[in-house]
């Protein structure tokens, strides 16, 4: 087999899929795993080895998934009964607190739990809602008092809120209504690198909000920093209908542009190639942390890092292998991510671009065209069409929407989005060097965002632009 890694990744994914669908005895699985491992050792030089390797990888997928389903005895979901009295919970803030609809929201790592009946150390994660805007930061240690709830059905777009949260290891929601029920302890926990990334993010956010106003501010925060929560619902809805909402989520497209900007910037500083690549890898990881390390960003960052390493080692990087490494990297960390919509869409779009685009291009003989301009336009249309072909099934299934306008919309919106990202980073850079010029960049950016919304509004008015399914 020319490329074994994608095939092994597929087998691993199948293992995860079966682990969440069928009941397995974990002890028996470990026993089987050992037997197949020994058999594979004996067949190292025989063609049978491949078969045993597939079985081993399949079992590994099941075992890793089963392990994530087994919770420690002191896990919060094993201790509490949510009909009880309010709980007093000690722990630390595990995500950047977000403020929306007069509520402050963040993920909370639980350390200790107390109520009338229980007082013990515990583990697990909660999603916390506090009334009003609270000045909290990542890593801050808090004692909170409130009621715990199971996640409810989210909305008609996302299947179930509980599935979405369980993919992130969250089983309960804690609501704290009173200010007196929040006690801030002086201590700080959590990763120093994440703290640094989030501090940098807050600084950039302040800088953007100083220069821009609604709606450019909200769109730029989403496109550059992954702050999707602040996007007005009417813009989000508009872009879902035209299937261009992916530009508002930091993904491969954004990471690709950021890699280009970083390498270009380092090149301008006249460092040598080796140093440029060595420096751009930590910069990309930092950007991934700033944007919240969502699945699409993580996938794109791992792929970019693999590519850069390949370049460093003077080896031709293979897109299918790097895609497989990215997939394994995410799934070994958290096998539940296989069922995450963002994960599925992200990989489906890249696979369709990598696989379908060259095939369709060859069928239509586009490379033989003599008019250069027409060739570029047709190639861009094909890229958009391939991505749409690969993702439209998933979008129809999850979002109950089918958008024929997507191909045309992406053809117009993607170059504009690239321009907005370049201008956004230029605005941030100019603010450090020549702050006096920032209003000029801000004015251009506001106009470009206006154009982006305008194009989407116009396209949506076209006949048969989109259909609601079901």
């Amino acid at each position: 087999m020319k490329r074994p890694l994608p095939f092994l990744t597929l087998i691993f994914c199948l293992g995860i899929f079966f682990a969440f669908r069928i009941k397995f005895n974990l002890t028996l699985l470990y026993f089987l795993f050992i037997i197949f491992f020994i058999l594979s050792l004996f067949t190292l030089k025989k063609s049978f080895f491949d078969f045993f390797l597939f079985v081993l990888i399949f079992c590994l997928g099941i075992i890793l998934s089963k392990n994530t389903q087994i919770l420690p005895t002191n896990h919060i979901s094993k201790i509490i009964s949510y009909k009880d009295e309010p709980y007093i919970i000690k722990g630390s803030v595990a995500s950047q607190p977000e403020f929306k609809n007069n509520l402050t929201r963040f993920i909370f790592n639980v350390k200790e739990l107390e109520n009338k009946a229980i007082n013990q150390s515990t583990s697990g994660r909660l999603l916390v809602y506090l009334k009003g805007k609270k000045e909290l930061a990542y890593g801050q240690v808090l004692i909170l008092k409130g009621r715990l709830f199971r996640p409810f059905i989210f909305n008609r777009i996302n299947n179930r809120y509980s599935t979405y949260l369980s993919c992130r290891g969250i089983d309960f929601i804690l609501r704290v209504k009173n200010d007196l029920d929040i006690l801030r302890l002086g201590k700080k926990e959590g990763s120093l690198i994440i703290s640094f990334a989030l501090n940098l993010k807050n600084k950039i956010k302040r800088l953007i909000s100083y220069n821009l106003s609604f709606p450019a501010l909200n769109i730029l925060e989403a496109m550059l920093l992954g702050e999707r929560k602040s996007i007005p619902s009417f813009i989000n809805d508009l872009m879902i209908k035209t299937a261009t909402v992916h530009i508002l989520v930091v993904s491969g497209f954004h990471v690709g542009l950021v890699t280009f900007i970083i390498i270009l910037f380092l090149k301008m500083l006249r460092f040598n190639k080796w140093f440029n690549i060595c420096l751009s890898i930590p910069c990309l990881i930092l950007y991934c942390l700033i944007t919240g390390s969502s699945n699409p960003t993580l996938r794109a960052t791992v792929m970019a890092v693999v590519f850069l390493f390949g370049y460093l080692l003077k080896r031709e990087p293979d897109i299918y292998n790097s895609l497989s490494i990215a997939c394994l990297f995410i799934l070994i960390g958290n096998p539940r991510q296989l069922f995450d919509i963002g994960f599925q869409l992200s990989f489906a779009s890249v696979i369709s671009l990598v696989y379908l685009y060259p095939k369709i291009k060859a069928i239509l003989h586009i490379d033989n065209l003599k008019i250069k301009f027409l060739k570029i336009i047709l190639k861009s249309l094909l890229v958009s069409f391939s991505a749409w072909l690969g993702t439209s099934g998933l979008i129809a299934y999850y979002f109950k929407i089918f958008s024929p306008v997507a191909v045309l919309a992406n053809l117009l919106v993607i170059p504009l989005a690239s321009l907005i990202i370049f201008c956004g980073f230029s605005l941030i850079g100019i603010n450090f060097v020549f702050p006096i010029l920032s209003p000029l960049f801000a004015a251009s950016l506001e106009f470009l965002v206006f154009l982006l919304i305008g194009i989407n509004t116009f396209l949506l008015k076209l006949p048969y632009a989109y259909f609601r399914l079901g």
């Binding site: 008609r156 709606p215 619902s233 009417f234 270009l264 301008m268 370049f422 000029l440 801000a442 106009f447």
Partner: protein, 110 residues
């Protein structure tokens, strides 16, 4: 004279054109207050729906509005000779404070 590479030249030109375009917009805003007003009005309302002309089908498409509520909104519009402010939505049966907060951003009034 300048020892710029091809890529550096492109970056410089990009920055110049963005700054120039921004200054043109600023100039237009300063030149006529009407332009500034129109631009800021457009920036705020583009993509939103005109509450006084929106049809039933489009209303149903908004998350939080079903067929019954869409009918009530259109009925209210006919009865009261159009909406005078978005806040009037609160007067319609079925639009609670929470629902109003959720849907108000979808509309504008010219």
């Amino acid at each position: 004279m300048f020892d710029f590479t091809y890529q550096e030249r492109k970056v410089i030109l990009f920055l110049i054109i963005v700054a120039l375009f921004g200054s043109l917009i600023n100039f237009l805003n300063k030149y006529s207050s009407k332009t500034e007003k129109n631009l800021s009005y457009l920036y705020q309302n583009l993509g939103k729906l005109n509450l006084n002309t929106v049809d039933e089908e489009t209303l149903i498409d908004i998350p939080g509005i079903g067929k019954i509520l869409a009918n009530r909104i259109i009925e209210y519009r006919h009865k009261n000779f159009y909406f005078k402010s978005i806040e009037e939505l609160k007067n319609i049966k079925g639009i609670t404070r929470l629902r109003y907060e959720k849907i108000k951003d979808y509309f504008y009034l010219p």
